[in-house]
Symmetry: C2
């Protein structure tokens, strides 16, 4: 066989050369990052996925190679043969991994030329994102994106190895599946063979993985694409990747222990960080009480304190009436923030309004311990003393109050806590604080449709001790659900599933789903529960989110090779695109007349 | 936390117990395969994914457990605690892996009951496939399907480990991508955000993996779902899984060497078979000459021999005229088959007619070496001697002849060869003979559309020595393409890609694709080739097909957890299904009026 490379075989990656390689004959192939002419010599920075090597071409020593090198430009693809040598004294570059060596080039071949790229291959080049996405194959040459995707590869292998070692079996579930109107909006795929019928792309392999447990596979996993046709936020993509797991014959404790072990392995083998195990666990109720949210950032304190009992009869009407109407009053002690300006306080007030708060009362604790605040006058000395005690107030502190419904007070103060953690520099990016949040409510009441909806999903089991509540007080029943929260972000969540058909029927009925509807939508699951379903549960982690955290990326698009825009388009391939009428006819569908 | 299993923790898999475990306290959880009452004792065969353990319950020793055991039925989910003990003499079952031991049960809990399953959990139960697919979660309990999917898991891990060790990086490519009208029919996904536009599910990640090479990732792989909306044959599924690879800075030899190493690793670590390496390689031309097909079964001889030159002027018009019209005459020597009956010969004749042959001439070589055949009289002694020599004819042989166009003669005789290999028992199922077929034609002429079409795909590079042919005689140009063939089935195929924009433009133009069309459909690839594309190539293996071979399965549905029928439906979830009009309105599509 005659082939273009002939007997040229790449011997090393450019970025892997070190002083230990001095004297070796090497063959490198890569891209020209830069060419410099310097006193007759030519220096080329040759780049590949591992890094950059400096090539040196001497016109006296190797005139032919030197002549060819004169013609190369940025991003030309070049192969060279030469000898690794120590850089001359004074030219060592300690900032480069290969900075001690260079390659004395004996032979050079241009494997491909390149037009001038639309932007420089540099991590901090100031280029509009749409230009970078359109030329993604060039943007992906940036060292930052290269290392993000290589780390993603590494994480996938660490996860698989850990799960394999723990008895999990990787099993593929279908991509062409059935639409389930619960949950988010489905992507649909018209069926040609079954006209008028549609497949749906899976929002998760939930039902299939439960069926695999019913089949006896004991432990399942899959690193799998899932799909949601939702309006996209900054950190969402139409297709996203889950580390999806399901286990039989286990309780919540088992699952949390195995899974935190996996996360710890990932952090150890990527960032070199040993996470303390077991990870802390708090209930949903405790999370709401202390942090106002169910995904608390544990890197700092600033915990919320409820003072409803202290202020329920106080002279400040806003507080007293909130409690009387069934709401609550909570405070957050922003330590040493009494010096906040009027403007800063106004900004915080505007911030909590986003979450429905009508205002934000504050107290500055002065050097002598007394309050400076517009609301001081409404409180008795005893009330002030009790509030100070509840807040552990010290001179220089800033107390911030929310008085509203439970939901608004918690959310506004909880979000304010997050904002302050950032603002005060308490949320360090390299500090990783995990917490399991457990015992979520099972159901919540939807005032609009006047029925209960599942907080997690309809297959989540109630706590054993709360099963009896399903008959009288279903809204109070708690779920065997757990979320893993890292620095204020949920990175994974799951639950023990219902394995008992009667309880599953009851859940559907509480959710206003008739027996017929349940049979139509989930009949195969209900049947499966009748034929020997084991106790089982599972969890799913968002791999994209996890990779953002591990790489310190601001954008989800920096951890995905070919991401879509917030309009769900691929600027590179121009998907979605137009299709022939013939294709639509074969699928028995037509475009609807434009109505918008 | 109070949980259903409490302090019961599964200690072993049922199927893993051995004599070495005798005396251990164990906790098993699994499914009741069978319950037998025998002289007051109860024996339960408890099954999990690893196999079956025998439980023994003695009413005198543990009356409570025994009483509970009386109520269990087939497929109940049961947890037991007990002691592993040696089976009494005479009751050891050498056919079972756990046949030396049983578990003396101290405690028993029923974790779930089961209705009587619709069929027995046995590998050879005689149940219609549609019943099994509808209750797939029960069917998947069969040991055969369990071990198929566990082996599939193992193969995926072997492949990944091998590729990781060889510098490949696993990178995910999009599932929501753009329709490319070349190739098979796409599955389409209407876009809600971009009304009237459609995504397509990928038939392969071809363009994305080439772009990853342009980006400098050097070596890529993915075990990835691909989609083709084709009418299904027995061994096809709408979604199928590929082991997809692409490499930069390599030639064909490098790719074949790396990939045959991967296949050898899989065979060694699953079946314990050491495949001889390197695997044999033959050109397409040689494969067609010797075997009549491009996917030859190398387990046996029965090679084809062309005798056009010998018979071009012979007295047998059928032969002479075939040659005169530009066709060929070939023979196949079916060794020691002269005893075939009239009926057997008629069946072979009917068989070759499927492939367009008008008939099948035959010669039985008698004990004295002379011919017994209706066509003997048309040949001179010299012609007979030359044909005998070409066929290496011996007494007892059966010579079978095809005289037709090159295509029909090769295909009919090539397929007949395959049939005879089966019929004569030459194709042993446990004999694995690999061969690389190389140097395929680059283009073939499509008489209907009157243009060239790519034999592999339009990105396949021509042989370096054939590039010049593109201008004058493109139909004669050969491709840098290679298929890996095992026992007559293509299990993988790939090629070196075009990395030069001018050659890619020329390919499109030879295929009758205008510059504008090319720009519209493949603009991003053409652009990518302009910005420093390295020499690169790749390959994809069909994982489903490979698993069929490794497990000896007759049906592709036996190596996929949740397969679809030949009507592309999932009998379990009833996908595809009806959807709400509201969903279609949101997607700006309507059902077309029925026209069929």
């Amino acid at each position: 066989m005659i082939d273009i490379l002939g007997d040229w075989k790449k011997s090393h990656f450019c970025g892997d050369l070190r002083a230990a390689d001095i004297g070796k004959e090497v063959c490198l192939m890569g891209w020209v990052q830069r060419r410099r002419d310097h006193g007759g010599l030519i220096f080329i920075d040759l780049r590949d996925r591992q890094g950059i090597a400096q090539l040196a071409l001497d016109p006296d020593r190797d005139p032919e190679a030197h002549a060819k090198a004169e013609k190369v430009r940025s991003e030309y693809v070049v192969a060279v043969r030469g000898i690794v040598s120590a850089r001359p004294e004074g030219t060592v570059n300690p900032k480069m991994a290969t900075g001690e060596v260079e390659v004395e080039v004996k032979e050079l071949r241009v494997l491909n030329s390149s037009e001038t790229p639309p932007f420089m291959i540099e991590d901090h080049a100031d280029v509009a994102e749409n230009i970078r996405l359109k030329h993604r194959y060039i943007d992906l040459r940036r060292p930052g994106l290269q290392s993000n995707l290589m780390l993603r590869h590494k994480v996938a292998q660490i996860v698989r190895t850990y799960l394999n070692d723990n008895g999990f079996i990787e099993i593929e579930t279908p991509v062409l599946t059935k639409s389930t109107p619960e949950g988010a909006r489905d992507y649909l795929v018209p069926s040609r063979v079954n006209p008028g019928m549609f497949y749906a792309l899976p929002q998760s392999p939930q039902l299939f993985k439960q069926l695999l447990m019913v089949s006896g596979f004991d432990r399942y996993y899959q690193i799998v694409k899932c799909f949601r046709d939702e309006d996209l936020r900054a950190d969402r993509q139409p297709e996203f990747t889950q580390i999806d797991c399901e286990l039989s014959f286990v309780d919540r404790q088992d699952i949390m222990t195995i899974m935190e072990g996996m996360i710890a392995r990932v952090f150890r083998d990527t960032l070199g960080i040993e996470l303390p195990l077991p990870m802390p666990r708090i209930t949903y109720t405790e999370a709401m009480a202390r942090f106002g949210v169910d995904n608390p950032d544990m890197r700092f304190g600033l915990e919320l304190v409820e003072i409803s009992n202290i202020v329920k009869d106080c002279g400040f009407k806003v507080f007293a009436e909130a409690v009387k109407k069934g709401g609550i009053v909570k405070l957050l002690n922003a330590r040493e923030c009494a010096s906040f300006s009027r403007k800063e306080l106004d900004d915080l007030t505007e911030f909590v309004k986003i979450y429905g708060a009508k205002g934000l009362a504050y107290v500055k604790v002065q050097e002598d311990g007394s309050w400076q605040s517009p609301i001081t006058k409404f409180f008795t000395d005893k009330e002030i003393a009790l509030i100070d005690e509840a807040a552990d107030a010290k001179p220089g502190d800033l107390l911030l109050f929310a008085a509203d419904t439970c939901k608004v007070a918690n959310e506004s103060l909880g979000r304010l806590r997050g904002l302050l953690g950032q603002k005060l520099g308490l949320a360090r990016k390299d500090d990783f604080r995990f917490v399991w949040v457990t015992d979520f409510p099972l159901l919540e009441w939807d005032g609009e449709t006047r029925r209960h909806v599942a907080v997690h999903h309809p297959f989540t089991a109630p706590l054993d001790e709360d099963v009896a509540l399903l008959d009288g007080d279903p809204g109070s029943a708690r779920a065997k659900a757990y979320d893993l929260v890292l620095n204020g972000s949920e990175i994974g969540g799951g639950s023990i599933r219902i394995h008992n058909r009667e309880i599953q029927n009851k859940m559907f009925s509480l959710m206003g789903i008739t027996a017929e509807e349940a049979e139509e939508k989930f009949g195969f699951l209900l049947n499966a529960l009748s034929y020997g379903a084991p106790p089982h549960g599972g969890i799913a982690f968002g791999l994209d989110r996890l990779m953002m955290i591990l790489t310190g990326s601001e954008s989800i698009r920096d951890v995905i090779a070919f991401p879509k825009t917030q309009k769900a388009t691929c600027l590179l391939s121009e998907a979605p695109g137009a299709v022939d009428d013939k294709q639509l006819r074969e699928l028995s569908i037509r475009r609807a007349a434009r109505t918008n």
